[in-house]
Structures are given as structure tokens and as C-alpha cells.
């Protein structure tokens, strides 16, 4: 088992434990022990960008901890928002010496050693695809997801923007406009992926409380398109997307029903994390994959596979 530094983030340590546990389970089954960095802090979740160097120090500190505690070159994480924040911090620090100095001053105030912008944040999907590969995943499948139609939903920050993620620029990375890594991993598990057009659309997660009308419209668009394309479930790789598509789905559908009678039904579709599906294919039980934590009937939709 190879040890890898892992940044969980606040959502995964609390309400989205399903994604945390299943990420560790899947990586563990494939020979990588995800070891949490100690004393982590919030990545800033995009809301601290107006706070000067504070908004850069938060992600940078986690990268620094990975280096201090593990001597790591890579820091793996499952949350796309954290991934974006950490990748952005790296890009800015490597470009702007003045910002780096301010951030390092802050890091040292907190007792840290400083950070040089040399630890690479890696999204779990990209990490598994590149470090294990499709053949490696296939070899571990015990209960193939045969017959299951999955709509893979990447959302925004896994593949965008290339200036931070390196998608479509770095040959190792996924495509920026038409990512395929999650497709490949799920297909390796025997699932059928459907094409529905909203794979990289925005879920409006940032405005989920601030301006729910906008957010709900965008979420409904994705849900209804996935359903119309014949998907049984939508697979996610970001807890912020889950906040909208899963936890708020009931409210999203109610709002859609108000706009147009009958619309609510056209948008109901169970939501799961991609790692939950992969774990099930590896032979894990529904309980181990925390399917009960999902709010939109994932366990029921997957009952034929669970047995």
C-alpha cells in the first residue's frame, strides 16, 4: 500500500462523509492509502477572494502541510472547489513574487515553514485515472454495474479553467470542455454512460442560498436533461454539486413544478458520488458506501446492483 497525502476539506469531514469514506475505500482497494494531512484548514471556498492575501494563504497552508508532514509532491483531494482553490493558489504564487511573500509572512505567523508553490493538488478522479488506470480498475471489479445507466456530471472546477488545472494543456490531464476520465472509470466498472449535454455545466452552487432561483434553474436543467437521456443516476465528483443536486433536489423540483405543471417529475433522478458506484462495483455493501446518506433515493435506484 502506497501512502498518499490527502486533503479532506470541511464538507467531506462532516456532512459529505459518504464521499470521504468512499474515496478512501476506492483508493485503498487500488493500492493507495489516502493519509489525511493533520491540522488542515478550510480552502476558502471562493468566498475569501476579496480578503487579500488571506484568500491565498488558506489553500497554500494545506499544500505546505502536505510537504511538512509527508514530504509530498502531490496532494490528493476529492472536492472540486478545494481543488480549484489550491490550484489557483499555486498559479498565483508562482507568478507573483509579491503575493508569495505576503502569504509566506502569514504562514510563518502561524508557525509554518512557508510554501514555495511546489506541491501539486490532484483531483481524485484524475489521480485514479493516471496512477491506476482503466485496466487496474477493471481488474478489481467483482460486481460489474451492468445495465446501469449513469450520467457523469463533472461540474465546473474539475476541468476549468485550464490556466489553473492544466486541462487540455498538460498531456496527463483531462480534456477541458469534454472531460472523459470519470466516464472511463465508470465504464471500467461495467456501467453505461449516457450523454446529456450538461456534463460540465454549472450547478450554480455558489448562489444556492444567495440567489436560489438562479441556482435552482441551472440545477433543474441538468437534472431534467440527464433524466431525459435515460440515466438511472447522476454521478458527482464535488460536494458542492451534491448540495444542490442532491440535498436541495426536493426544493428544486418544487420550484420547477411551480413554473410549469408536471416539470417536477421530469427532474427527479437519484444522485450518487462516482466513488460510491466504483466501490459498489468493487464489492462493497450499500452500508459501506453510505448510500443512505444520499437524499434522493440512491439506495433504491441501485438495489438491483447491491444484491
Amino acid at each position: 500500500m502506497k501512502k498518499v497525502a490527502y486533503y479532506p476539506g470541511c464538507a467531506l469531514k462532516t456532512i459529505d462523509r459518504a464521499y470521504d469514506d468512499t474515496s478512501k475505500y476506492v483508493a485503498g482497494s487500488l493500492g493507495f492509502a489516502l493519509e489525511e494531512i493533520g491540522d488542515y484548514n478550510c480552502c476558502g471556498i471562493g468566498e475569501l477572494k476579496s480578503q487579500g492575501e488571506a484568500g491565498l494563504m488558506l489553500p497554500a497552508r494545506n499544500l505546505m502541510l502536505a510537504k511538512e508532514q509527508f514530504g509530498a509532491k502531490d496532494l490528493v483531494m476529492s472536492c472540486s472547489v478545494c481543488y480549484h482553490e489550491l490550484a489557483r493558489a499555486n498559479a498565483v504564487l508562482n507568478k507573483r513574487a509579491d503575493e508569495k511573500e505576503k502569504v509566506n509572512d502569514l504562514l510563518r505567523t502561524g508557525g509554518g515553514s512557508g510554501y514555495e508553490g511546489d506541491v501539486e493538488p490532484r483531483h481524485i478522479i484524475e489521480f485514479l485515472f493516471n496512477e491506476v488506470g482503466v485496466a487496474g480498475v477493471k481488474a478489481k471489479v467483482k460486481k460489474p454495474l451492468t445495465g446501469l445507466k449513469v450520467a457523469p456530471y463533472y461540474g465546473c472546477l474539475y476541468s476549468r479553467p485550464s490556466v489553473y488545472t492544466g486541462t487540455a494543456r498538460n498531456p496527463r490531464m483531462d480534456d477541458a470542455e469534454r472531460p472523459r476520465f470519470m466516464h472511463a472509470l465508470l465504464e471500467a466498472c461495467g456501467a453505461t454512460t449516457v450523454s446529456y449535454g450538461n456534463e460540465t455545466s454549472c450547478c450554480g452552487g455558489r448562489s444556492l442560498i444567495q440567489d436560489e432561483d438562479t441556482s435552482f434553474r441551472l440545477i433543474y436543467d441538468t437534472l431534467s436533461k440527464a433524466k431525459a437521456a435515460g440515466a438511472d443516476v447522476v454521478a458527482l465528483i464535488c460536494p458542492k454539486c451534491a448540495g444542490g443536486l442532491d440535498i436541495m433536489q426536493e426544493n428544486v423540483l418544487k420550484a420547477a413544478e411551480k413554473r410549469e405543471s408536471g416539470a417536477g417529475k421530469k427532474g427527479h433522478i437519484p444522485i450518487v458520488y462516482a466513488t460510491q458506484l466504483i466501490g459498489l462495483a468493487f464489492g462493497a455493501s450499500a452500508g459501506e458506501m453510505k448510500l443512505g446518506d444520499m437524499e434522493t433515493g440512491a439506495a433504491k435506484a441501485l438495489s438491483s446492483i447491491i444484491r
Binding site: C10, Q51, S159, P161, E177, Q210, D293
Partner: protein, 208 residues
């Protein structure tokens, strides 16, 4: 900032210092002046179909020219940006429109205080207070506080809220939320330094 020329009909006032103020806040701003107004950003934006006055291309143009009159008319929309980065992804000149709009949202309180959406600002403040105060984000607390601060407390009594709260409780996730804690570095001076930055920013907004 509101000059006489701006208020008289038929004339447009331009503020030459405005662009500098905005672009100095974009961390990767060296390509902002390469914008050629092609409009790929606005054509890709998920918000433009919902709010025709929300247009990254127009925002950049108005910022470059310092056309504060027209910006004022659209200022209430600036904060709606979802940060999805589709515009930045597709920009043929790597202008990074998403972060120009983001920088623009940071100057809204200074130039267009009347356009600040009180509820949205209160929620952003809740994020800032929690993250700077404790170093971590408690999502349940964020949800409850946001609804309380924006006068939507009745929604907390909705059956769906109770159902989800109960589920969080029996699955032990409520307990994990209470255990979230704070990083050690927050007790060794970092919190104080961050609070200073927060106060500096608050002062800047208040001075406007």
C-alpha cells in the same frame, strides 16, 4: 464619483482611474488589456440567458473605459457571477474574465454602494467570519445562520429541514459537525493576523 457630466442627459462621463482600481485587484491581471471584445465569454456564460444585462464582455469594456454610468445600471448584477470559469476557459486571449468580474464585485461597495445586495453580503460575511474565526467551515451552521441573517428563519421549520436534520443526527454527522474544531495554528497568532486583514477590508468598504 458621480460627476455633473454623468447626470446631464446625452453625455457620458468616464473615470480613467477606475480600470486601474479594478485590475489591480485581479491577481493574474497582466492580460486584461488584451480583450478584443469577441464576446465568447458572454456567449458561454450560464447567467447571460437569465440576466441579459449580465455580460462579461460588456463588464470588461465598461471597466476599461471607466463608463461608471452604464456600470451603475448593471451593478446589482455583478455579484451574481457563479465563478464557473466557462468564460475564462474559452477566452481566446486568456483574459480570465471570471476574475475581472470577481474584482469588479470587490469594488461594488466602493463605487456603487446602492447596488450592494444586503442579504447576499450578509451571507458572504458569514463565510468570512466563520473561516477567519475558526479556520474551518461548518456547513450546517452556515446554512442556519444564512437563513437567520436574511430573515428566512421560518424556512428552518419546514418538514424537509427537520427530516434532513434528523438524518444528520442519527447518522452521527451532526456530532462530526460539532467536533469540527479549529486548526492549532489559529491559536498561535494566525487568527489575529487574519482578523486584521478582515478589518482592513471592512474599513475599506466602510470608507466608501
Amino acid at each position: 464619483m458621480a460627476s455633473a457630466a454623468e447626470s446631464s442627459p446625452g453625455t457620458v462621463a468616464y473615470d480613467p482611474g477606475f480600470a486601474r482600481d479594478v485590475f489591480s485587484r485581479v491577481k493574474t491581471a497582466d492580460r486584461v488589456y488584451l480583450c478584443m471584445q469577441c464576446g465568447v465569454c458572454s456567449g458561454s456564460c450560464p447567467l447571460t440567458p437569465l440576466f441579459p444585462d449580465f455580460s462579461p464582455r460588456v463588464f470588461i469594456y465598461l471597466t476599461q473605459t471607466g463608463n461608471l454610468g452604464e456600470l451603475r445600471r448593471r451593478a446589482h448584477l455583478i455579484d451574481k457571477c457563479l465563478g464557473c470559469y466557462t468564460c475564462s476557459q474559452r477566452c481566446p486571449r486568456d483574459v480570465n474574465p471570471a476574475e475581472v468580474v470577481e474584482a469588479l464585485s470587490h469594488v461594488v461597495p466602493k463605487y456603487f454602494p446602492e447596488a450592494v445586495h444586503k442579504h447576499e453580503a450578509a451571507i458572504t460575511q458569514e463565510y468570512v467570519d466563520q473561516i477567519i474565526g475558526t479556520g474551518r467551515l461548518n456547513l450546517a451552521r452556515l446554512h442556519v445562520m444564512s437563513l437567520l441573517k436574511t430573515g428566512r428563519f421560518l424556512e428552518l421549520l419546514a418538514p424537509a429541514e427537520a427530516k434532513q436534520g434528523f438524518k444528520q443526527f442519527i447518522t452521527g454527522r451532526m456530532f462530526k459537525l460539532m467536533q469540527l474544531g479549529s486548526p492549532r495554528a489559529w491559536r498561535s497568532g494566525l487568527k489575529g493576523a487574519l482578523t486584521q486583514i478582515k478589518e482592513r477590508r471592512a474599513k475599506e468598504v466602510a470608507a466608501a
